[in-house]
């Protein structure tokens, strides 16, 4: 097997301490939580840190709890298995339970954290390869090279956002709490993503995710996540559709959010979706229009499994199916534990 290079392992006890270490060591250090993405990438020479700052001895980014008036807190250090199985998450945010439960395999979900999935490195078939392979093909912008091999004219890296949970939490207006060397801050999660395959997170390198708030205002939204991938057993998304609707008592859609994953370097918010969905019932015509809009802003490239035209075409199919499920959810008498996915 590929060998894991030597590194120094640092075990801080608090996020502030970890952030301090990261700031001090600069680009030679990386944070590691579950390690399911970091270690394989070190073996392939994609990540070359001399120091790993482990978050596994930190307590303050753990816990999933409901706080009246504030919403649902999900600690970034919780495993994907814990998130997917949490009763509160399953009841209120089945889309999140589904997304967390669809990441990779059970073994990796037991190790991997929700924080790791939210900030997971962007992926590309030219980048997620061994050193030997990348040398044979020619190195790319994202690591060791100076051109994008997906689109040689592109000035930015086109590696794709491959998080399942980021689109869901974005669709539900989640807030992220970051702890850095210079203190902590709370921002809308959506604002942390940049459409740049290399510099894909709008945060300082020393800032660590403590957790996310699903705000009180997001409770009661119907929500769903649908994922396209080759195998049901594992695989990163090659398309993900997170849809969330607030539907009034009369059946009128009051608020709508559709966020796509794996079609750009950041989760892609379908900006025009509320315009065509809100103020009326979620019916066939509205769904069709929203799906068409989503497909128009979906720009998969030839750097992941399955043809890019196919993934683009599936955007319409998946958005249609997601919205239909949400529309039908009102008609059905769903029990408290009924997951939509």
């Amino acid at each position: 097997m590929l060998r894991l290079p030597d590194f120094t392992y640092i075990r801080p006890r608090t996020l502030a301490e970890a952030a301090g270490v990261l700031q001090e060591l600069g680009t030679e250090a990386m944070a590691v939580a579950g390690g399911t993405d970091v270690y394989p990438k070190m073996k392939r020479g994609q990540f070359t840190p001399r120091y790993l700052v482990s978050l596994s001895h930190v307590e303050e980014h753990r816990g999933i709890r409901r706080e009246d008036g504030r919403g649902l807190w999900i600690g970034a250090g919780e495993t994907l298995t814990a998130v997917a199985g949490h009763a509160n998450v399953r009841r209120e945010f089945p889309a999140l339970a589904a997304a967390a439960g669809l990441v990779s395999t059970l073994q990796l979900r037991n190790a991997g954290t929700i924080g790791g999935n939210l900030f997971v490195d962007t992926r590309c078939n030219y980048y997620d390869q061994s050193f030997f392979w990348r040398q044979a093909v020619g190195f790319c912008l994202k690591k060791d090279g100076d051109i994008c091999l997906v689109a040689p004219k592109s000035r930015v890296c086109l590696a794709i956002c491959s998080s399942d949970t980021a689109p869901v939490l974005s669709s539900l207006n989640a807030e992220a709490v970051l702890v850095g060397a210079r203190g902590s801050r709370q921002v809308p999660l959506e604002t942390l993503y940049r459409d740049d395959g290399i510099d894909y997170l709008a945060k300082r390198p020393d800032e660590l995710l403590q957790g996310v708030w699903l705000p009180e205002a997001s409770f009661g939204w119907r929500n769903v996540y649908l994922k396209l991938r080759r195998r049901g057993s594992f695989d990163f998304p090659v398309l993900g559709v997170a849809a969330a609707l607030r539907v009034g008592a009369t059946g009128t859609c009051e608020a709508a959010r559709i966020v796509l994953t794996a079609v750009a370097s950041a989760p892609k918010v379908v900006e025009d979706a509320p315009r065509v969905l809100c103020g009326k019932p979620v019916d066939g015509a509205a769904i069709e229009e929203a799906a068409e809009l989503a497909m128009r802003v979906s720009h998969p490239l030839d750097n992941a499994d399955m043809d890019y035209w196919y993934r683009k075409r599936m955007t319409r199919v998946f958005v249609t199916r997601a919205l239909r499920q949400l529309a039908d959810a009102g008609a059905a008498t769903a029990g408290p534990d009924a997951a939509l996915v």
Binding site: A136, F234, M314
Partner: protein
């Protein structure tokens, strides 16, 4: 057979290697550690096609911990599995022919140092244009990958005409044509390649390797290292999956052997997953064209089949593969006239070779899909159409293959009944479909890889005076259960319990030659050799027992640990006591047995591929759902019936059948060994090379059909490869039943379904190529040879 039937054959008893595997006690090659052991890594070419003007190891040798670096100049002798196409070098001498082609090998104190040293080896490459397609290979007449072959980039072109093909088509009411493409795929065994060599001061070399063919590795080492075979010992360690991918002698085996000779220390190499995609030797990508003539009732009047094989950078088993793409079309349905033309080209990609079904799944896919289309166009039930023309037992096909027992009719009938075929075909709701196909495979190649008249398999038996028995055989257990086959065959013959039989296999110092675990040959050949060895041992045991028990020797049988009289069952002698008395009389007790397959009638040049002791038969029905919006296929269930002659052990046969179905579903739905325009493998990882897991595997209903083949040990035929074959076309035929589109390409991916539904999916194009003048042959020219050898 004994008076009371079989004692262990046919019973679902566990395998002898089961406990160790379950307990994690099986020692694979990479588990081995020897004192003073060094570690090796191979430097591989990053270019698909380049001249190598020089390799300098100077900087690498200066790295502390590096003990030796070898290059092509150290091991320049060419080798290869087939004697007539020895075109491989352990390390490139002056040219590399695919990305991953080995150029140098390092021995160092650790894997890390060995890896670091690779970066310090300087190679002077002159990059050449790569040839990456069949069409490109045929067109590049001035640009050669190899120079030994007669026509540029053509490794082998063959052409045959059996019977009167023109008359066959003239007689037809309808003639159908189609083109097909089967994409290449790789074996993906769980265990990666690993080898460990030692060279002791007495000048003796030992190599342990995860190989399916220790005998052929033995021969290759002797040739390349210029050592007598008697000074080399090759041991095949327990193989964690082979599927054909560990059947060649390999660069890494030769490299560690040479490094051990140079350093005087044991040297181990374990390849990583990515490297296993470069070593490859997997399924050939094959383009096919097929024309079939039929009567209005579906009766076949003639068939013309063309195959174009993308061989990759070296010959490997390709010579046999190209023949296999045309050999077995004739053994399932009566075919009065048949023409076959095939060509294998070199391209700058990892060499293709044998993978489960070796060269026959591709043509079987084309043929069974075309037959389904013919049935559709003629308004016939595809099952009925085939049943009408199943080959007769004890007959000779138009290309000179002798079919002995054939359970195809029973396979087809049973699978149709169990799946509810009649009620479901063309009757399921939209998006649901059911498909059928049938096939055949060999139970071992009729000829050895190098020409000789010696046995294909040898067994030695040693009877211990304490009553223990040890069986020695060169066969290699690659997970298919061949060690257990030996233990059970001997236990059955000698009336012992399988757990009382010790099995020593796959060690060229200790065991007689068996050619290896390929071509589904092991059960039939080692089983027969073991039975013969037992017979020879029994002769002496019976001679002694007959005197003691005062009954004639021909009245004796061995059962329940005793030698006893059939007519007077109370007269018996414990096995151990019988062995003691026999040893007293004859001295040390041992016996040998061997097996060589019977000859087939075909006597034309090229008739060596296709003959076998017996053909296995399979029939499959696949029921699936196909989503018209996404093109996604969900397999609901697979029913498969397999004529295994006799279920030597129904549990093991079922395991082989299910494994074959699983592998077939991977090939038909997703697996692809594909390359970028630069010639680099697109997805050489177990994450991105999409292969199904157990979670994607549907329910499989296995139906075993027994024909008691006279050539088989206890009547057995093969079971490890044949059941893969019908599943692939059955899926394609079920897709048509579900959504009304014909997919002539493997794998059948969701995007292809959508393109077909949009009427944008074109049939594969096949190249123009002038095949050689055909060799003509008709049955009756050959000599009929009695089957039972």
């Amino acid at each position: 057979m004994k008076k009371n039937g079989f004692s262990v054959i046919g019973k679902p008893l566990p395998r002898i290697d089961g406990p160790a595997k379950c307990a994690g006690d099986t020692r694979y090659a990479d588990d081995m550690v020897l004192p003073r052991m060094l570690f090796s890594r191979l430097l591989r070419s990053p270019h698909p096609h380049a001249l190598v003007h020089g390799v300098s190891a100077r900087r690498a040798l200066e790295l502390p911990g590096v003990h030796a670096v070898i290059t092509g100049a150290d091991v320049p002798t060419k080798f290869g599995i087939m004697p007539s196409t020895q075109d491989e070098e352990a390390l490139a001498v002056d040219k590399v022919r695919y990305v991953g082609d080995p150029v140098a090998a390092v021995a160092a104190v650790s894997e890390d140092v060995a890896q670091e040293a690779l970066g310090l080896i300087d190679v002077d490459y002159q990059v050449l244009d790569p040839i990456l397609s069949i069409e490109g290979a045929l067109a590049a007449e001035d640009h050669r990958i190899h120079t030994w072959n007669r026509r540029a980039n053509i490794q082998k072109a063959v052409s045959f005409e059996f019977g009167d093909v023109d008359a066959g088509f003239a007689e037809a009411d309808e003639v159908f044509e189609g083109t097909y493409f089967f994409q290449g795929n790789t074996h993906l065994p769980m265990e990666q390649y690993c080898a460990l060599a030692t060279y002791t001061p007495d000048g003796k070399l030992t190599l342990w390797s995860s190989t399916q063919t220790p005998h052929y590795v033995h021969r290759a080492l002797s040739r390349v290292l210029d050592l007598p075979m008697g000074h080399i010992r090759v041991v095949a360690t327990p193989v964690g999956g082979g599927f054909g991918g560990k059947s060649d002698p390999f660069s890494h085996e030769i490299a560690v052997a040479k490094l051990a000779m140079i350093t005087g220390r044991p040297v181990k190499i374990t390849l990583n997953r990515e490297e296993s995609f470069y070593v490859h030797r997997g399924r050939h990508p094959v383009k096919m064209w097929m024309r079939t003539g039929v009567k209005r009732d579906g009766t076949l009047t003639g068939m013309w089949f063309r195959s174009f094989l993308d061989g990759g950078g070296y010959s490997s088993y390709g010579l046999a593969t190209v023949y296999y793409t045309g050999a077995l079309q004739t053994v399932t349905y009566e075919l009065p006239a048949y023409k076959f033309e095939g060509v294998r080209v070199f391209t700058n990609k990892p060499p293709c070779g044998p993978k489960r079904g070796h060269g026959t799944p591709q043509p079987r896919f084309a043929m069974e899909v075309q037959l389904d289309e013919i049935a559709e166009k003629l308004g016939l039930d595809p099952v009925e159409m085939r049943l009408k023309q199943v080959v007769a037992p004890d007959s000779v096909t138009v290309n000179g293959l002798r079919v002995s027992t054939i359970g195809l009719r029973e396979c087809i009938e049973k699978v149709a009944v169990r799946s509810g075929w009649k009620d479901k075909h063309r009757a399921l709701p939209d998006g649901h479909g059911i498909g059928f196909a049938a096939s055949s495979y060999i139970s071992g190649a009729g000829l050895p890889i190098y020409w000789n008249d010696m046995p294909h398999s040898g067994v030695q038996l040693r009877a211990d005076r304490g009553g223990g028995v040890t069986v020695f055989c060169g066969s290699t257990d690659i997970g298919q259960g061949s060690d257990s086959i030996l233990a059970f065959a001997v236990a059955e013959e000698l009336g012992l319990r399988p757990e009382d039989v010790r099995v020593v296999t796959a060690d060229t110092d200790l065991t007689p030659v068996d050619l290896g675990s390929y071509s589904s040959r092991v059960t039939v050949m080692t089983g027969n050799a073991a039975i013969q060895a037992c017979g020879n041992l029994k002769e002496r045991l019976f001679e002694v027992a007959s005197e003691v028990l005062e009954v004639p020797a021909d009245d004796l049988e061995m059962e329940e640990g005793q030698v006893r009289s059939r007519s007077l069952p109370d007269r018996g002698l414990a096995f151990a006591e019988c062995v003691e008395r026999a040893e007293t009389r004859f001295g040390t007790l041992g016996a040998t047995g061997s097996y060589r397959p019977p000859r087939h009638p075909g006597d034309y040049k090229g008739a060596g591929v296709g003959p076998t002791p017996s053909y296995s038969y399979s029939a499959a029905v696949v029921e699936l759902q196909c989503d018209g919006d996404t093109g996604e296929i969900r397999i609901d269930k697979v029913w498969i019936a397999h004529d295994c002659g006799r279920a030597f052990n129904p549990l093991w046969v079922q395991g082989q059948v299910e494994g074959s179905v699983y592998m077939a579903l991977g090939e038909v739905l997703m697996e692809e060994q594909i390359f970028r325009k630069s010639g680099v493998h697109k997805i050489p990882s177990i994450l991105e090379y999409k292969s199904p897991t157990t979670l994607e595997t549907p329910p499989i209903e296995t139906i075993l059909v027994e024909t008691d083949d006279p050539e088989g040990p206890f009547g057995a035929k093969e079971a490890g490869q044949g059941p893969l074959l019908p599943v692939i076309p059955a899926v394609s035929n079920a897709v048509f039943d579900a959504v009304g589109v014909r997919i002539h390409e493997i794998p059948i991916t969701p995007d292809k379904i959508l393109r077909a539904l949009d009427q944008r999916l074109k049939d594969p194009a096949v190249p123009d190529f002038a095949f050689p003048t055909p060799i003509r042959w008709t049955p009756g020219q050959g000599v009929e040879v009695p089957q039972k050898s």
